[in-house]
Every structure is written in structure tokens, then in C-alpha cells.
């Protein structure tokens, strides 16, 4: 590592993530590795990844600083909590990129998916499906987590334009498929649901319908391979996948590398989600990869940032690894 001297062409990138074993986060890391590899100028990706909180993440970042990395890619637990350590890193000449969620630190790059839009686009699709009339269930994530708050804001914004729509039930899935499935099961059998909006806990909701043996209603989910599969292959299911690509990690890596190699990337990059509805079978086919896990997102190439092959992401191999 050590990009301090001009002739030294290779860099070390540190990654700080605080949710282990989570499919989305794991793919995000794979995207970072893939982009680092594809760039050819990174000789090592140092990962810090264990279930922990903000203090723990500060520890991660400080140990990355101690290990002398050239750039740090962070999936932050919090908007403010990390600022001082991020600024510390930047003051030591380290490039810092926050992905998936913004930080307010001075001088940090930010690459996120537009969560407000995620909530709004999905909601609008659903409400249109219902012809502006009916009871919908809003299955949120974790109360108090910014992403959830933003998506809810988007959902509310859409709701404002559809007076005929009533939210019959609001639940918190904790972004845990199992919990989401249980809640869906209960709600469905209680009946009187015309549509379900989910904050990404989607395929277990579809399963719940099948367990309950109930009529499908339109379901909004995310670009999870499992859900796409269902949208393509489950009889009588209509729904829409709103993209929230973990490839944002690749975008973050690209930005970091640009900054290291002296190009001036934008300080803030925000990806606007796309909506793939079940009537658009073609693009869904495009997205679907039968050989991938349910939580996997095949929406990995993000112009103009990522330069890797989709396969490199699923290989999940970084520079210096075999």
C-alpha cells in the first residue's frame, strides 16, 4: 500500500461494514472487491466487517487508519456519529467514501441509492395498480434507521396524491425475511388487503401468500433475485421490483480510485432507482440469474462508474486474493 509517493502506482483500500452475514452487504463488498480488481491500480482490499455499532465502526476506521490504507469505503451506521473520525482520516490524506448511506463529514465522498425515491416510485406503481383505491400494507424496515425514514417519507409523498388509498397496516420487518414472512402470514389471513409495499422483504411475503393459500395481491419489493424469480415464474403474481443495487459499493470503489488517481469525481453521487414491473417480463428475464442466491441483485453494472464484469462480482475476489 501507500500511495503517498508519486511513482507508487498501487493503492490499498479499506472497507468498514457493520453487518455481517447480510446478503445485500456481502454483495456490496463483492462489488467493491470486483471494482478494485478491475481498476488494476489496487493491490489490496482490507476488510473490516463484524456486527457492531457506531463505536465499533469508529474502531474499525481508526484501525484502518493505523494500517495506513489510502482510501476507506464506509457503509456508515449513522449520519453524524462518524464525522470526527472521518475528518481525522481525511486530515491524514486518506480518501473517504460513504456508500449506501450519507455522512455529513466535511470532504467525504458520498454514493447512495435515493431512498426517498425508492419509497415513492414503488408506492406510486402499487397505487396505480390498485386504480387509486384500496387498503395497502406498508412493511417497513427498522424504525429509526435513516434509510427506513427516507423510504417512509417517499411512501407518504406518494400516498398524498392517492386519496383513495388507505394504509390498513404498518409493520416493521427489521429487514428480516423471517419476521417479514410471519407478519405477512398474519396480515394476509386476516384478509382485506389489496396491495403490499415492502422495504425489500419481498420473497418471503410471496411465500406467505402460498402458505396461506390466499389470492395474490400486487406486491412491491426490491431487486432481489428470489423476488424476480417469483415475478417471472409464480402463477398470478403481479408486482414490481424497485432497484436498490448493492453495486453501489462498486460505485464507491470507483469514486475512491478516481480520487486516488487524481481525477476529480463528484462529491455526491445519488442513483435513482428503476422500477421493473411483472408486465415487463423481458427486463425481468434480463435481471434474473437462476444460479444466484435469493438475496442477490443482478443489477450490477452501473454506468459510468463500474468497469467490472458481472461475473467478477459473483466471483467476489479482490486484488491479491486467489
Amino acid at each position: 500500500g501507500g500511495g503517498d509517493s508519486a511513482e507508487d502506482e498501487t493503492y490499498t483500500i479499506g472497507v468498514s461494514n457493520t453487518l455481517a452475514g447480510n446478503g445485500w452487504r456481502e454483495q456490496m463488498i463483492c462489488a467493491i472487491k470486483a471494482q478494485a480488481l478491475a481498476s488494476g491500480v489496487v493491490d489490496e482490499v482490507v476488510l473490516q466487517n463484524e456486527n457492531t455499532d457506531t463505536t465499533g465502526q469508529i474502531g474499525q476506521i481508526e484501525s484502518l487508519i493505523s494500517q495506513g490504507v489510502d482510501a476507506i469505503i464506509i457503509n456508515p451506521t449513522e449520519r453524524e456519529g462518524l464525522n470526527s473520525v472521518i475528518e481525522e482520516a481525511i486530515s491524514q490524506g486518506i480518501v473517504v467514501v460513504a456508500v449506501d448511506q450519507a455522512v455529513t463529514a466535511e470532504g467525504a465522498y458520498v454514493a447512495t441509492n435515493d431512498q426517498v425515491a425508492y419509497g415513492e416510485l414503488g408506492a406510486r406503481w402499487l397505487f396505480d395498480q390498485l386504480g387509486g383505491e384500496g387498503n395497502v400494507v406498508e412493511m417497513r424496515g427498522i424504525d429509526g434507521v435513516p434509510a427506513d425514514t427516507d423510504r417512509h417519507a417517499g411512501f407518504e409523498a406518494a400516498l398524498a396524491d392517492y386519496p383513495g388509498i388507505t394504509v390498513s397496516q404498518e409493520t416493521f420487518t427489521g429487514w428480516d425475511p423471517t419476521t417479514g414472512g410471519q407478519q405477512a402470514l398474519d396480515i394476509i389471513s386476516a384478509g382485506d388487503v389489496d396491495g403490499i409495499w415492502t422495504s425489500g422483504i419481498d420473497y418471503t411475503v410471496v411465500e406467505a401468500f402460498q402458505s396461506a393459500g390466499a389470492e395474490f395481491v400486487p406486491i412491491v419489493g426490491a431487486d432481489n433475485n428470489g423476488f424476480i424469480d417469483q415475478l417471472l415464474n409464480v402463477e398470478g403474481l403481479t408486482g414490481a421490483a424497485v432497484t436498490n443495487p448493492p453495486a453501489i459499493g462498486g460505485v464507491g470503489a470507483a469514486i475512491a480510485i478516481q480520487a486516488l488517481t487524481g481525477e476529480e469525481p463528484e462529491q455526491v453521487v445519488t442513483l435513482t432507482p428503476e422500477v421493473f414491473a411483472s408486465d415487463d417480463q423481458a427486463s425481468l428475464e434480463e435481471l434474473f440469474d437462476p444460479d444466484q442466491q435469493v438475496g442477490w441483485s443482478t443489477y450490477v453494472e452501473i454506468e459510468p462508474y463500474t468497469t467490472y464484469e458481472a461475473s467478477q462480482v459473483s466471483d467476489c475476489v479482490g486484488p491479491g486474493e486467489e
Binding site: E50, T54, G59, E62, S66, G81, S84, I142, D143, V145
Partner: protein, 335 residues
């Protein structure tokens, strides 16, 4: 062994010392070695690195101390983590944009709140005669619920002075490690002294070691239990405050709570506190808290990827406990 032979060693005696303090000493030694090793692994090791370890392990150290006090008194508290996020949330709300003096006062208040709430939990345990683990498991849910009410989404704040008090830097991140070392040493020393030298402190050991014997010899066992929970609650609150000092803003995610609770239990066992009560010291528990925190930076500095690191970490902890257990066994079998 008769009275005569029992009468040896009024003078200092290594074997006795090792038997009584061996584990605690061993844990601190282990910690020292780990830090030395870490310093060898990374390009430069200075104030910043020491501060990073000492300040960031503060919350776990305080939780471990609190958990140790409770477990030594024969209980166990699965709500320490929830108490941490609750106090963290309350403090973050109240301290936001307050001057140093006020934040100090609030800190004292928050610690009192923690002590009182947990004291009540202890009282519930003694009157209901429901096992500690059940009561505290239940309260852990409720407490983190309350935390979420107090602080619906991350935010709030505290004064720079308050941050410096725990972290040595007004921004929570810097190279001055003395304050955080002091922040570890003083509460630990106080707790240790109180446990071993005051009548109340001893009554905690007694209640944990043998409630019946304690009760028969006139110890108010119920009271001891309540006291242990109150003290533990105070330390959990302190942990929440230190977390606030480190991050500068509050957070109320329940997941964080249960995470910290499990770590606190791991810490005290590693620190030589017997879950059956009556045995161990807060000093060992504190060291173990720091060890648990230091493991992952070391492993990552060794270039081990996080997944393998997690495996290694698990194996390491088990091996340490195994070796310790075997030594223990040998010692009992011998002589």
C-alpha cells in the same frame, strides 16, 4: 488437613496468590501481549493507536464491570445492552447543545436513572422469585423499546468537554490517550475496592457464593441482590454515556443492545467471573472487555479476512477457556 496444617502461610505465598489472582493476572498479561503484538503488526504505533483501543473499548469495559458485579452476586443481567442504549438515548436528547457543566450534571442524573431502574429490576427478581435471566430478558425488550421512544432516530449530542473527558479529544478521536485510560482505571479500581473491602461489597460475594449460608449468617440476601443490580445498572448507564462521548450523537437500535449484552457475558467469563456467582473480580472482567475489543483490529492487521477472522476469534476464545479450564483441573487434582 487439620488446624495445625491449615495454619501455614500467614506470610506471602506465591501458590496462594496464583490460585486467587492467577486468572486476573493472566488476562491482563494476555491483553498486554496482544497490544505488543498489534504494535508490531502495524506501520506505526503511537498515541493515536493506544487512544483508539482504550477509548473505543470503554463501553464494553463498563458493561463488563457492571455485569461482573451482578453475576458475582449470583444474578445475571441480559438487559445491560438495552440499558446502554437507553441511557445513551436519554443523554443524547438531554445533552444536545448544552454546556459542559450541564452535561456533567445530566451524566450524573442518567447514571442515577440507570441505577434506580435496575434496582427495581433487582427488587422484582427478589419478590417475584422469577429467575434473573428471565426477568432481565423481558426488561431488555422493554428498555430498548423505551429507548426508541426517547430517541426515535439517531441524533442528539453532547458537549465537547464531555467528549474529551472520556476520549481525550473534543472530537472523540485523537492521540491523547490518558483521559480514556483514567476513565477505565478509576471506575474499575473503585468497584474492585468496594466489592472486596466493604461489608456491602462482601455481602454481594456472599449472596452469590452461597445464598443459604449468607442468609443463615445474617446477610440480607434480598438487599444484596438489589444493590448488585443497582450498581450494575449504573455501570450500564456509564457505558451508554461513554458511547455518546465517542460518537457525539445518540443511537437507539435494539440490535446494538443485544450485541453488547452477549459480549458483556463473554467478557466476564473470559475475565474469570464464575456464572454460578461468588467467584471472580471486576478487574479481570475489565481486561477481558478490552481483549474482546482488540481482537478484530489485530486479526485484520494480520491480513485475515473478516469471515476467517470471525472463525479464528471464536476458536481463540474457546481455546483460551479450554486451556484455563485444564490448568484449573490440574490444580484441583494436584496435591
Amino acid at each position: 488437613m487439620t488446624a495445625e496444617t491449615a495454619g501455614r502461610s500467614t506470610r506471602f505465598d506465591w501458590s496462594t496468590w496464583l490460585r486467587r489472582r492467577g486468572w486476573t493476572a493472566g488476562v491482563w498479561l494476555l491483553l498486554l501481549l496482544m497490544i505488543l503484538w498489534y504494535s508490531a503488526l502495524i506501520p506505526k504505533f503511537g498515541g493515536f493507536q493506544i487512544a483508539s483501543i482504550s477509548k473505543n473499548s470503554l463501553p464494553l469495559v463498563y458493561l463488563a464491570i457492571g455485569q461482573a458485579v451482578i453475576v458475582i452476586a449470583g444474578g445475571i443481567d441480559l438487559s445491560v445492552g438495552a440499558m446502554l442504549i437507553l441511557s445513551n438515548s436519554i443523554a443524547a436528547q438531554l445533552m444536545f447543545e448544552q454546556p459542559f457543566g450541564v452535561t456533567l450534571a445530566i451524566a450524573v442524573l442518567v447514571i442515577l436513572i440507570g441505577a434506580v431502574i435496575n434496582g427495581v429490576v433487582g427488587w422484582i427478581i427478589t419478590v417475584s422469585r422469577v429467575p434473573d435471566i428471565v426477568v432481565t430478558l423481558a426488561t431488555s425488550f422493554s428498555l430498548s423499546g423505551v429507548a426508541l421512544l426517547v430517541l426515535p432516530s439517531p441524533g442528539g449530542g453532547t458537549s465537547e468537554g464531555f467528549r474529551a473527558m472520556f476520549t481525550g479529544s473534543t472530537t472523540g478521536s485523537g492521540s491523547n490517550f490518558w483521559p480514556s485510560l483514567v476513565a477505565i482505571a478509576i471506575p474499575m479500581a473503585l468497584a474492585a475496592w468496594w466489592m472486596k473491602n466493604t461489608r456491602t461489597g462482601l455481602s454481594l460475594y456472599a449472596t452469590g457464593s452461597s445464598p443459604t449460608a449468607a442468609y443463615l449468617s445474617g446477610v440480607r440476601t434480598a438487599r444484596a441482590k438489589i444493590v448488585s443490580y443497582a450498581v450494575g445498572g449504573g455501570f450500564s448507564a456509564l457505558a451508554g454515556l461513554s458511547a455518546l462521548a465517542i460518537t457525539g450523537s445518540g443511537e437507539s437500535r435494539a440490535a446494538t443492545g443485544s450485541l453488547f449484552t452477549l459480549r458483556s457475558v463473554a467478557a466476564i467469563v473470559l475475565g474469570g467471573v464464575a456464572l454460578t456467582g461468588g467467584i471472580g473480580s471486576v478487574v479481570g472482567a475489565a481486561a477481558a472487555g478490552i481483549i474482546l475489543f482488540t481482537l478484530s483490529p489485530i486479526l485484520s492487521a494480520m491480513g485475515i479476512d473478516p469471515n476467517s477472522a470471525q472463525v479464528v476469534q471464536g476458536v481463540l476464545i474457546v481455546v483460551v477457556m479450554m486451556v484455563a479450564g485444564i490448568i484449573e483441573l490440574r490444580r484441583q487434582r494436584a496435591g
